[in-house]
Symmetry: C2
Subunit: 373 residues, 2 copies
């Protein structure tokens, strides 16, 4: 069972407050999904994630397929008990990692052949295998295998690719054995007519939700927003919309205003490990010498575990000495920021004031801290 | 204020149950102190340590002096608020790290000149500076600077060195400005007459407690136990006795039986990060292929957070993929084992059955798992 309801629409924007429901758990949208590549959101325990209020995380099929292998995880009862997480998990199809991590890949009608970035072994990822893996993992929301195009790419290439992506989308639906939700992925590069066609054809197949793929691949932000705007205006209003791999806080507020419901991105977690911390004034770098004796928390108004207990001086000390605790404390802070940011947007939509929230956010964000080098 | 009371003596051994009391906190002995080198027990938050029931940790003066510097920590209110730990902290004098980490050192009457292992800068650590640093850190129990001898070393060298160590011990007492507890350190290599002399001379100076130093430096275990036995039989009965840098579980039970009250060692925390986990059957290596699909916790009888929530298969997966969470979960388990081990010994002493406990321990320990390579 997978359900999605729009609970409230914003007044001046396309923003919407929604609810995803499955037998396992519920999640309010718009939602940010922390990335748990290998069955762990790097540095955090499931308890940390629950304390942060996270309800839905993403796990990477490509990585778990290569290690420890989906069959091992299935034997151990699935990804939820394996990692000790009883709330929701969305799995990607593995396609994006094949394109970005494999040193060698060949797209064929049957699927995509690739070389493991770990041991050089050859594999063939088909739409059917992607579903098989995700079902073995016990995912709550599965994604279809699609072809990811580089930017820029010609309209002819994008048109050809769309054919393959839709053929795979159909095969994915057929391959599905259980009742787990499956999302289609809208491709079409930055050609409005192709995006239109994609939405029409995928809509006819009837997915549980729709992702906007093929963005955040190097294009200017305005082009991304145009594409997101177009897709969101055409996608079925009663299904969740997921913008894959996006993004910075400024991207999230723009995309939520355009009607996007779901996000995932490594930015908060990866930046935390690199010492870049998010605040309402903008990102700050904990490495800076000026924090050596700074007794303040990262953000004096933040209520996260890290800000309630530790100073910038201590976090800088941990960072400078490669102390593992620092990675976790920084990750807790950044995810708290992202999840609170989504909380605030949901509340703004509920009160019909998302456009004021957005305006206030941009007035403040980026004003108070140094540029991140 | 620093107080120590022996609450109970074991029947058949020299083991004793005791209580350390300061204005800040209380700690039952025999106690194991986790090592928090840089103001952090590697991978753990203060909350983790409290959850483990730890009451007294060790911090390294040498490391904190070099970074971030004791003056920085003093400005921030001391080590307790800096690291968010409100229970007890024992600091060493820095001497041992100078001898073991500095690429260049020269012992003079004034103190020990050394080159920082970090940036090559030259420093002179005197007994007075060691006290100044420890007082700046706000330590609860300070240690005197002593000379650490290699093993083996001639009786003449050890005799000469003892003179210097005792001169420094006297200067340390004089340098102390506050009322913080200060422990003397018994040296004398493995020469019983020198150990006897050391205990007599230090005893006359009147320290709050006494450490047995200069052991676990490469000598055979029997020689260490002989020395510990001798020292414990001669040391004042109303002061705590601290065996520095020891050790393995088998060492702890032997030394507690000989009348030692306090221990510190990097073994549980460092081994955790290397994938070696302690159980009542002996240590096990989580790296082994046989754990790939093993659904059991590390130790099915263990009540630690790690064992209550995660399988060997998951911990192996985290270890093999260098996931930071694995370092923390392993550390939690190993410290839980060490702290429970001390709990059990305290209970055994309270019930006058430490020798039975020791016998049962050795019957079981090391029997159930593979040899650690």
């Amino acid at each position: 069972m997978f359900g999605f309801r729009v609970l409230k629409r914003d007044k001046a924007t396309q923003g919407r407050l929604g609810l995803i429901e499955t037998e396992r758990y519920r999640a309010l949208t718009p939602i940010f999904m922390p990335v748990g590549t290998l069955g762990v959101v790097k540095t955090l325990s499931p308890q940390d994630l629950r304390d942060l209020g996270s309800t839905l995380i993403l796990a990477n099929t490509y990585h778990l397929y290569l290690r420890p292998g989906h069959r091992v995880i299935k034997e151990l009862g699935g990804l939820h008990p394996f990692m000790g997480w009883e709330r929701l998990i969305l799995t990607d199809s593995g396609g994006f990692q094949v394109y970005s991590l494999s040193p060698l890949k060949k797209v064929k009608e049957e699927g995509v052949e690739f070389k493991s970035h770990l041991d050089g072994s050859m594999h063939l990822l088909t739409p059917e295998l992607a579903i098989e893996i995700q079902e073995a993992l016990g995912s709550d929301i599965m994604m279809v295998l699609d072809e990811c195009l580089p930017y820029p790419c010609s309209q002819k290439e994008a048109q050809e690719s769309l054919k393959l992506t839709h053929c795979w989308a159909g095969r994915s639906l057929e391959a599905k054995k259980g009742r787990t939700a499956l999302f289609g992925i809208v491709q079409g590069s930055f050609y409005p007519e192709l995006r239109r066609q994609a939405i029409e054809e995928l809509g006819e197949m009837g997915f549980d939700g729709y992702a906007v793929g093929g963005v955040s691949v190097g294009e200017p932000p305005e082009l991304m927003y145009e594409t997101v705007d177009l897709c969101a205006s055409l996608l079925p209003h009663d299904k969740p919309r997921y913008l894959m791999g996006v993004g910075r806080p400024e991207d999230l507020v723009e995309a939520v205003s355009l009607g996007i419901d779901m996000f995932d991105c490594v930015i908060p977690t990866r930046n935390a490990r690199n010492g870049t911390l998010f605040t309402w004034e903008g990102p700050m770098s904990i490495k800076r010498t000026c924090y050596t004796k700074d007794p303040l928390p990262i953000d004096p108004q933040c209520h996260c575990y890290t800000c309630r207990h530790f100073s910038r001086a201590y976090l800088r000390h941990l960072y400078m000495n490669n102390e593992v605790l620092g990675l976790r404390l920084n990750t807790i802070h950044n995810l708290h920021f992202y999840l609170s940011f989504m909380d605030n947007m949901r509340e703004a939509i509920a009160r019909g004031r998302l456009s004021s929230f957005k305006k206030e956010f941009f007035e403040r964000y980026g004003g108070g801290h140094e540029e991140i080098p």
